[in-house]
Symmetry: C3
Subunit: 342 residues, 3 copies
């Protein structure tokens, strides 16, 4: 792809040669000829050891460069978009592997790839263009939309619904029983019914070995465009909105609601029946108590508090040593006053 | 099942029509005709938008309802018990799938289901009524009891012992090597022997992608009726008692003991050789230091402390701001006293 | 193996009979005849209920024992080394299982075991002596060295490189996409390219269900002799040095560097672009902020601080109650002084 085409496609302003071919994206530090890279700040850039042929730069960038550059509003976004084109994920040619076991009642769309040792159960549907890799196991009455990617060793339990363009990374478990038990005195625990479903909307991506439990009675839902990292736990009946980002190893307890456009860090824990309102940002390792309502803003710590409050309180804690010394000093002065009086 | 039968079965007191058929359980908010639901508190219930035909209610409930209701001691428990009957998990018809690979020396009971691509190793035993789903891999000399459910992609290492009515959810790993290494100076680490076993007693349920390591020299044991959520890590030689509940993403380090009837929240971390005594309840994200003994009671925070102490201390921390102001005020008064004296 | 041979092999000083055969290692508490055990401290040892035939003891141990004993510098290390010999992991006889699917362009070394339902992709290489167990899935252009053990249900993504003597436990995912997205306003997220690789050096061990993401543009690297426990998350472009130990459920964010010989506890979280310098020890559940540099020493808490500082501060926090009382007392004294003046 020629630099001039790239500039046109991304609505950028090109400076320098436009007819060089770009084959790959690369990190700025290691970029070579025929590669494009980016940087995000409009500051001096030391190109001494780099050889890229083109750079995305911010609109207010104004320094000389030894290569072509394209001014855009958001260089990282432009870079990501051009990478999607230059490095379009290789799509497997349509094939149903001879070892795959597909129920006769299952409906498989056109241009579908089904890898070795895959199982697809009764009455399940797989949309056109979807790729299901080796060893993935799809239960009965599962609906998978179009152009999805289901990586190896994924398990999708009966009756789950997966939208279009969904990516499930290796080892993901969709629709296992939620964790609900009722104590029956000395007899131990009786299982609360876990007979609901999971709905995953379009354009969701779920990281390796993450688990999305089915609803107890209703459904667990992951909204459109939401991105979930590895080893994340989503419990029964959780409702996650659209365009939510959840980093690795976070756990969301039962029936908690996360509204649209929230950003949740890694290793966050949320109790059950909490509600995270649209626009909230929750820092890594934070803990949200059951039933808590988290408003828009930046949150931190366990139990979660607004980052500003947390910082203020933390500063106070760090100030205790000084406070102790002040109190010691006051004691002395009072003693002196007392002595003077006597 | 008729309402009158349900009332009789659960020792409840029926009010209203008893001859309506109940087909399903449902959440109170969404229940429809021929469904039964429950609520836990003896308060006013707004049935305006619900259509259930029957409700479990507490014994002291005393308000009019537009449907039949059954008074019981524990409505949620009654609901769970009737759900077990109305929604008995579908059992696969006995079958050994033609693609399963079962060692000749393995003993398979009657009424066993073995799914596609399952492997069962030398001298292993599978009890009657057990279902082993697709892609599960059972090592050598493994004993699995009766009426177990082993979900897809589970791995059970050689010599593990699984009791009766055990459920292992998808991706569970039983009996992988524990994490033990001895430093050998500049040469790095030598592996400490990890040659013990895992014993899982009757009626245990283990959540998706959880890991139970084998003992280093002895055994790792999960007691009868214990329930473990998803993505939990149980290290080598851990001893977990009966009827313990462990929520998602909790990790228990080597040789730690958890006695009967404890409740452990999510994302809890326990150091090695700790001991949690019967009846302890440990809140989510708590941290138990190595060697710590945790008595009965409710515990919280890192390092773990009794919830009451934690709350008191937390209140103190929140009071530092005021304390600071008080000290400032005292200073002023002392200065005033000093000045007055001069 | 005779006791005298063991003593010679490990450069230890034997006391007692040397010609008894040792068949197994065992824990001190449960050791029986023909078994060897160890203890680490040079103190009185109560052998009343043990029956081992030999013990490794520290060099300065000087008490009578009812069995033979071998004085060595590091008894636990000696025990681990002899266990490696007495309990050498059984190696599967070379075999390519008839159900395995191996691309014609893949190169398989000598003495390789490939289990049932394994897939090995185009242009991949498997070194001599390596064992790949049932259901493992190896992508295209993957290089696996010699004498590795790849347990069931492991997934290795295209282009990953695995050294010699590497052990990957069940359910490990190597080379899944890293978690990187760029916000595109109301349109939601565009995926940042995740087109790099993973390099795992010699003698690495990775625990069950852990995930090592591929680099976004460059590589993710795990250094020689590093040991990683279960359910650990290593994000894109993380660089881990040699002989690092990482306990269960820890998560390392993108581009973070951990230098040689660090020890990281369980459930630790590290932000992106942090740097942990050689020799640092980080306690369990600690949190390292993005960009933080952690020097050699023992670290604790969130945000991480030196353990000594943490303890001092914690003691201060616990002292707030007393401080409050002191301030109250000062108030009284000042009031008394004021009253006296009037």
């Amino acid at each position: 792809m020629k630099i001039s085409e790239i500039a046109r496609l991304l609505d950028g302003r090109l400076s320098g040669a436009g007819d060089i071919e770009i084959f790959r994206v690369a990190a700025f530090e290691t970029a070579l000829e025929n590669e494009i890279s980016f940087f995000e700040k409009a500051e001096f850039v030391d190109q001494a050891e780099t050889q890229e042929d083109c750079l995305f730069v911010p609109e207010n960038f104004n320094a000389p460069l030894s290569c072509s550059f394209i001014q855009v509003k958001n260089p990282k976004l432009a870079f990501a978009k051009i990478a999607e084109i230059l490095h379009a994920p290789k799509k497997r040619k349509p094939e149903i592997h001879r070892t795959a076991i597909i129920a006769e009642t299952a409906k498989i769309g056109t241009d579908v790839f089904v890898g070795a040792f895959v199982c697809i159960g009764e009455n399940s549907e797989v949309g056109s263009g979807t790729q299901i890799f080796a060893n993935a196991k799809i239960g009965d009455a599962v609906k998978i939309g179009e152009n999805c990617i289901v990586h190896p060793n994924v398990f999708i339990e009966n009756s789950s619904q997966i939208g279009n363009r969904v990516t499930l990374h290796a080892g993901v478990v969709i629709g296992a029983d939620g964790f609900g038990f009722v104590r029956d005195g000395a007899n131990g625990y009786v299982k609360f019914p876990q007979i609901g479903t999971v709905v995953i909307e379009d354009d969701v991506e779920i990281g390796a070995n993450s688990c999305i439990d089915r609803g107890a009675l209703g459904e667990t839902r992951i909204g459109e465009g939401t991105k979930i990292d590895n080893l994340v736990q989503i419990a029964h009946n959780v409702q996650i909105g659209k365009r939510v980002v959840i980093a690795a190893q976070t756990g969301i307890s039962g029936s908690t609601i996360i509204e649209d456009d929230c950003v949740i860090g890694g290793q966050v824990g949320m109790g059950d029946h909490a509600k995270v309102l649209s626009g909230a940002i929750i820092g890594s390792q934070a803990g949200v108590l059951p039933g808590k309502i988290v408003r828009a803003g930046v949150w931190w710590g366990t139990p979660v508090q607004l980052l500003d409050e947390y910082k203020r309180q933390n500063a106070h804690v760090k100030g205790i040593t000084r406070l102790k010394e002040e109190v010691k000093e006051l004691k002395k002065q009072i003693d002196a006053l007392k002595n003077a009086k006597e």
